[in-house]
């Protein structure tokens, strides 16, 4: 069998652990990256003949570390590297040693690697680009394409991020519990941001280009969940992302226009993703330690469970949004809640809820869209028309504007 397609996924899967360990040894991102590249090159030479090592990550850590150390030594004197064949024969014996060395560290190694990428001194765009490059191993070209920027611009963004981190200090000792929780929260926030970069596209063409961002975010959040399998908020975040992503195929129509949740063809939703998301939110809830990600996932789960839009349990969604408002007060959450309230208690109650938000959400496209829809239901077409026009003026994309225009058409003033 000449199919070597299995090697790349094995290398990608091992990457976070290997990079994390190499970073701990060398305390320098560039050295760790070079060592990892070298280890991968040797794997590509050795694995097709010798088959996969029993523990690919341990193999790569050992080979990468040796290669980098050899490189350092070589600068002083010429030392021969052991032959590839000898090396891979040795590795099974040595792997268990490397495993013992790294097994206990590997959670903190990977968490540190992720945490370095979301260093507070980095702006969000640099955090995400760095994580995609360092942890996911995407090429600069791939990242640039997903962000719809030039390769040179992305190269510069990543170089700047690395330089900033180089100057900043990152603790290498094993973090204590509060620090670990802090790192976990920062990493979770970065992953969700990355996911939204991939998800928030408003045309089908843009969505296609950005698909790798959402998929990498899901890969990262699963990685985080494997490291912390009993953290309800990480389960919640994974569930939230899976449940939202499950709807990807139904989000745009043939012309590339947005299809709202209630109008989506639910047979296009991905059943395996929904099943996994529902399983995770069920697990998370058992811990009785609710958090914003879990609540948002629970809301997404109610949508996923409804066979059609009319069956949606809006009363429950209203209650969940009320909880979310308490945990994380924000006018945007109140606005979302108002949509649920309009279904449960009518447009009047919802309109009362959003009116006071006007001052803070004046420049928010979605606010005027919701306001227009509520006014329309209340039989106030003149004011609805005003709100919709305002929304169109604020629309970020032609697709958003087109969607509001449909509402305007229906007003038939």
């Amino acid at each position: 069998m000449n199919d070597l397609g299995w090697i790349d996924p094995v290398l990608s899967a091992a990457r976070p652990q290997v990079m994390g360990a190499l970073l701990r040894y060398f305390r320098n991102l560039d050295t760790a990256e070079e060592a990892f590249q070298e280890a991968c090159l040797r794997a590509l030479k050795s694995w097709p003949h010798n088959g996969p090592p029993r523990d690919p990550a341990a193999w790569l850590i050992l080979v990468g570390r040796n290669a980098a150390m050899d490189d350092i030594r070589k600068r002083a004197r010429q030392t021969e590297l052991p032959d590839e064949a000898v090396l891979s024969d040795l590795t099974d014996a040595e792997a268990s040693l490397a495993d013992r060395l790294d097994g206990e560290h590997y959670k903190d190694d990977i968490l540190r690697l992720l945490f370095i990428c979301c260093h507070p001194e980095l702006p969000a765009t640099q955090q995400i680009a760095l994580a995609l490059r360092i942890v996911c191993g995407l090429s600069v070209k791939q990242i640039a394409q997903a962000f719809l920027v030039s390769e040179a611009a992305m190269e510069q963004r990543i170089t700047r991020a690395k330089a900033r981190i180089g100057n900043a200090s990152v603790a290498f000792e094993t973090p204590g519990a509060p620090e670990r929780a802090e790192r976990l929260a920062a990493v979770a926030a970065m992953i969700y941001l990355l996911f939204n970069e991939g998800y928030s596209s408003s045309s089908s063409r843009e969505a296609e280009a950005r698909t790798p961002l959402a998929e990498q975010a899901i890969w990262l959040v699963r990685l985080l969940l494997r490291l912390f399998p009993s953290e309800p908020e990480i389960m919640g975040l994974t569930a939230l992302m899976l449940l939202q992503r499950a709807r990807a195929k139904a989000r745009f129509d043939k012309d590339g226009d947005i299809v709202l949740l209630e109008d989506q063809d639910r047979s296009l939703w991905s059943r395996p993703r929904i099943a996994e998301g529902l399983a995770l939110i069920d697990k998370a809830m058992r811990h009785r330690r609710p958090g914003p990600y879990q609540i948002q996932a629970a809301i997404a789960a109610l949508h996923a469970r409804a066979p059609c839009a009319e069956d949606t349990d809006w009363a429950q969604i209203d209650m969940l949004y009320a909880n979310l408002e308490r945990l994380q007060p924000s006018p945007v959450i109140t606005l979302n809640r108002a949509v649920a309230v309009s279904k449960v208690r009518g447009a009047e109650a919802a309109y009362e809820m959003i009116e006071p938000l006007g001052a803070r959400l004046q420049g928010y496209f979605y606010f005027h869209g919701v306001k227009g829809a509520l006014l329309q239901q209340l039989g106030r077409p003149q004011e609805a028309h005003e709100a919709f026009s305002r929304a169109i003026a604020l629309a970020n994309t032609p697709a958003e504007a087109a969607h509001i225009r449909q509402h305007l058409d229906r007003l038939s003033l």
Binding site: D8, L225, A279
Partner: protein, 129 residues
């Protein structure tokens, strides 16, 4: 004799499959399925969701509910086949065919089945990919 072929692999690696690699591998695996079905040897087949979605109930005086599988291992149980094989050799041959369709890391545990209750699920309860 019925054999269960239990499929173990690193779910990290499976999660890193490209769409193309996934589609090609699944097409090859389904071809093995079809062949076994034609020979009248194919029992139920299941592909499991990742272990992060799993929960374990540990029996004991006080039952313990654990997130994920009980033991932390490098390879996880990802799915299984139940197949009718005349001999262990035949079961190994089938496992080798699966390995050929899906090469790389991982392993297949070939386990004789002691008792078997066929599915009584209505069709709409069966998740499909």
């Amino acid at each position: 004799m019925l054999y269960a072929i239990l499929c173990y692999n690193s779910e990290e690696a499976i999660g890193a499959w490209s769409k193309d690699h996934h589609d090609e591998t699944m097409a090859r695996l389904y071809a093995v399925n079809d062949k076994l079905a034609q020979q009248g040897r194919l029992g139920p087949v299941a592909r499991l969701l990742p272990t992060t979605a799993a929960t374990t109930l540990r029996k004991g005086r006080e039952e313990l509910v654990i997130d994920g599988p009980f033991a932390e291992t490098k390879e996880q149980l990802l799915g299984f086949y139940v197949i009718d094989c005349a001999t262990l050799e035949a079961a190994l041959d089938t496992a080798k065919e699966l390995a050929k369709a899906n090469p790389g890391t991982g392993s297949y545990e070939i386990r004789p089945v002691a008792e078997f209750h066929p599915s009584q699920l209505p069709d709409e309860k069966k998740p499909v990919a």
